[in-house]
Symmetry: C2
Subunit: 178 residues, 2 copies
DNA sequence: TCGTATTTTCAGAAAATATTGAAAGTTATG
DNA sequence: CATAACTTTCAATATTTTCTGAAAATACGA
């Protein structure tokens, strides 16, 4: 990691940690952070030298980021190398993550819980079990639905509304927060 | 893992996987699953034998579950052993998780991003950097606020409202979605 | 207080995950 | 189509995380 900029290093560190704690490969999160604050698209070699990681590692995690829809491949004219550019809009990023986590983590849970109900049968002894699984399943389906809908919003209209609904700070000034 | 019940095993498996993919120790998630579908509180030994894990492992993860507010310690009269009982309400569980993840994972990110801004200074060269970090920071603060507010709702009123707002299925009955 | 039942801790072992780097594969260009 | 530039793969290795089990600590009842 270059020493160039302490703030940038702090950011790479911070973002990597956060990724880790949400079950995302730390290097993947760091590359994402690097690209997010990079003014130009970066090549695999740029990423390797900035983060001091191997080609294989850089390649694999860049591909993952592309798969997640957080990063685009790009090309510079007169250059054979591939460059990578991050989506910078926070809401767009949020949508991409919501979409992928729905697909990778919520949908499989729904399928798993449905299989539980299948296996549980209808006998008296499994009543409580079925009730609990059914409640989890319905909740999961609601979350699944909401993540899907949120992920397709072009603009972040929903969070400000929620903030108001859940008691956002009252405006003390005469004009609204508009 | 006892062979007693295929549905239960499926559930333990499924819940463990889900935990893993969200950065939660798989065993912790499995113990949680086990307690969720257990009619009586279970002792450490019960958990050990159901999941075939060591005392140390069981103890550590039970403590974590208690720390997360997902499991309560309980006692049976005339028995010196400690027993554990899961919160079963899905909404209550959701709130506990939201509360803890806010505290453990969102708040540190906010602090980290604020430190980035400190370190970045005010010079022209860091303009884009500051803009990006600032946007991430504001988004994080919004999420932080929302998780805090959601976590304190006794009842799940908010999700049904959201479902309606984001295009919940239209009523097929004669009256409109009013 | 003592002895016993129970819980907690923690160093070492095992398992899971992430990383490396070199070879194989691919693609663009003369 | 040969070559050089670049990308991808993957077996070996390193690192991190999780788990074990026995020892230490604690709580309880007589």
């Amino acid at each position: 990691m270059n020493t160039e900029n302490a703030a940038k290093n702090q950011f790479l560190q911070c973002w990597g940690e956060m990724g880790s704690s949400w079950g995302i490969n730390k290097t993947m999160a760091q590359i994402h952070a690097l690209l997010m604050v990079s003014d130009q698209p970066l090549s695999t070699d740029d990423v390797m030298s900035e983060l001091q990681i191997s080609r294989g590692n850089a390649n694999m995690n860049l591909r993952s980021l592309v798969d997640w829809g957080l990063v685009r491949r790009s090309h510079q004219k007169g250059d054979r190398k591939e460059y990578f550019q991050s989506e910078k809009g926070v809401w767009k990023m949020f949508c991409a993550i919501a979409r992928e986590r729905k697909r990778r983590e919520i949908e499989p849970v729904i399928a798993g819980l449905e299989e539980c109900l299948q296996l549980a049968g209808r006998d008296k002894g499994s009543e409580n079990f079925r009730k609990q699984i059914t409640e989890l399943l319905e909740f999961s389906k609601t979350i699944d639905f909401l993540m899907g809908q949120v992920a397709r919003q072009e603009e972040n209209k929903i969070l400000p509304i929620l903030v108001r609904m859940l008691g956002g700070k009252k405006s003390t000034k005469s004009k609204g927060t508009s």
